[in-house]
Symmetry: C2
């Protein structure tokens, strides 16, 4: 049998309202508190969250929508989001959307169903239609509309830093390698900034920009790198692309940083205690996760909040550049 407030009330010799007050920390007479508290303890009472949620329209739960948790960038982000939420007594629904916009839509619907109070999303699919202006939503790396808050790293600055570092490290023939999502997001700034800095400094720069989803990545890299064999400084859209490039270059007998240098983006580490896997432009994911949570909670409580927060990035060597 399930213990309810009624049981506690009867045992303590008070009304259910009083039990509710004690449970919710509303002030009651000290002696009443003692009685109720004792009854709760002895019955091992736990409030039913669903009954509470029905009354209050609050679930104390938010959903995190990401492409896949099985990727160090997203799992690190999820890690910090969960940490921050846990501190505020919020629970986290995990959604691996992975190219299924209908799954994203489903979680967004859950806001109307009272199952989630808000959503943090890293999404590259076309879900604009599902996003209403009164849905508490924080988006990462992508701008939906002026009503949707978003948190982003300084992608533009990142592209500049990458170009400057490669030039500083003595590269002469630069290249950018990346993919472009069909739905615009701010990661495109990385390429733009890189290109501009190269041009401004009169360095030749080749671009390989593949529309996503990318097929025959390996082949395309192979082709691009073989017809442009003079390339000695590469900037990639992210660290995983850098790893793929490194693999292809190895087949050509080239290793970094001896024969060329390469800088990725994201600052991927496998886990908390491990090292960066390539030289990279690091996004402050912890801070970004915490900011997302903070903004989302403000939205949920209808407090005023920033609509766009930009975080600084920095270069970190991972052994694929000379420094």
């Amino acid at each position: 049998m399930k213990i309810t407030m009624k049981d506690v009330a009867k045992k303590a010799g008070v009304g259910v309202g009083t039990v509710s007050r004690v449970v919710n920390g509303v002030k009651v007479k000290a002696s009443t508190y003692e009685k109720v508290h004792a009854a709760i303890e002895s019955l091992n009472y736990e409030p039913d969250e669903y009954a509470r949620g029905l009354k209050t329209n609050r679930s104390n739960t938010i959903a995190l929508i990401i492409p896949t948790i099985w990727h160090p960038f997203f799992s690190k982000f999820a890690y910090y989001v969960e940490e921050a939420l846990s501190e505020k007594k919020y629970k986290l629904y995990l959604c691996n959307a992975d190219g299924r916009p209908e799954k994203e839509a489903e979680y967004i619907q859950m806001n109307k169903q009272n199952k989630v109070d808000g959503i943090i999303a890293i999404t590259y699919s076309d879900i604009d239609q599902f996003i209403s202006s009164n849905l508490p939503l924080v988006s990462i790396d992508r701008h939906f509309s002026d009503e949707v808050a978003y948190v982003v790293a300084d992608n533009y600055r990142g592209g500049q830093i990458a170009a400057n570092k490669l030039i500083e490290f003595g590269c002469h023939n630069l290249a950018y390698i990346g993919g472009t999502s069909p739905y615009p997001n701010e990661t495109n700034d990385r390429k733009a900034a890189f290109y501009e800095v190269c041009k401004k400094n009169h360095f030749p720069v080749k671009i390989l920009d593949m529309p996503e989803p990318i097929s025959d990545l390996h082949e395309q890299l192979n082709h691009f790198l073989s017809i442009n064999s003079e390339i000695d400084g590469i900037f990639t859209i992210n660290d995983f692309m850098a790893l793929n490039v490194i693999k292809v270059m190895k087949q050509f007998g080239k290793t970094a940083p001896k024969d060329y240098q390469i800088i990725g983006f994201d600052g991927v580490k496998m886990a908390c205690e491990t090292d960066y896997v390539v030289s990279t432009i690091v996004q402050p994911l912890k801070e970004m996760a915490e900011a997302s949570v903070e903004i989302l909670l403000k939205k949920i409580f209808n407090e005023p909040t920033e609509q766009r927060v930009v975080f600084p990035v920095h270069f970190h060597s991972g052994g694929t550049t000379i420094l």
Copy 2:
């Protein structure tokens, strides 16, 4: 204003019971269905999950407790658990317990609060006290009691395979390097099996077994490997330990598989499309995740189920062995 069943019923000119039937897929007259369906669509009605949960005592949610999502082994597991649950229309609460048993306990309590229907846990802390026999719980890699189901890889066989492979690959001086959790789990079998096979084949074998939490890992490895410089075949408790060993060996000027060979355990890959990072004993994590979900759902529905499922492991080369 929130749209409720009452609104739908009024609009469709039926009773709320009928709306409920339509929503839950119970058979009604075709014409009634049409009317109700049309009303639902036009009002954009979404059932309140909390009201439903209050009645049914079901949340269609389960919690996944892991040490940290920011680790490819756990994030891969979480990925497949979420996939399997999503298929069954279940939602997943993510809990990074990370050495905080009180956090694990909190999620276990949530079962009583009706917030979760069951739990899948990978835990190395002392939570036996919180686990009652009627809690639907599936444990990974660890046996709690005969009432708690658990899913495990064939750790013993894994240790045997590792020893046999190293011997087959020509190693003569073997070593096991691992850590031991204060709470017993089946990963200890890896060491035992490895040791036995080495002994049976009359190969010398050195053991470095560090009690967790491990302090000065680097120093301990350094010491062990320098006083046992003859070692040319190493088996580690997991892939991350292998990576640490590789780092230390590099400082001694030794690289695998040229100067020694090393096999880890787990089969860690950073993400779906990437490669294994070391030669390793692979656990079939996808199958284990799916089995966990299946068993848990059976427990939730009070169906009979296995209490212990063991999965086979296999060797996979990741370049730190000659084959």
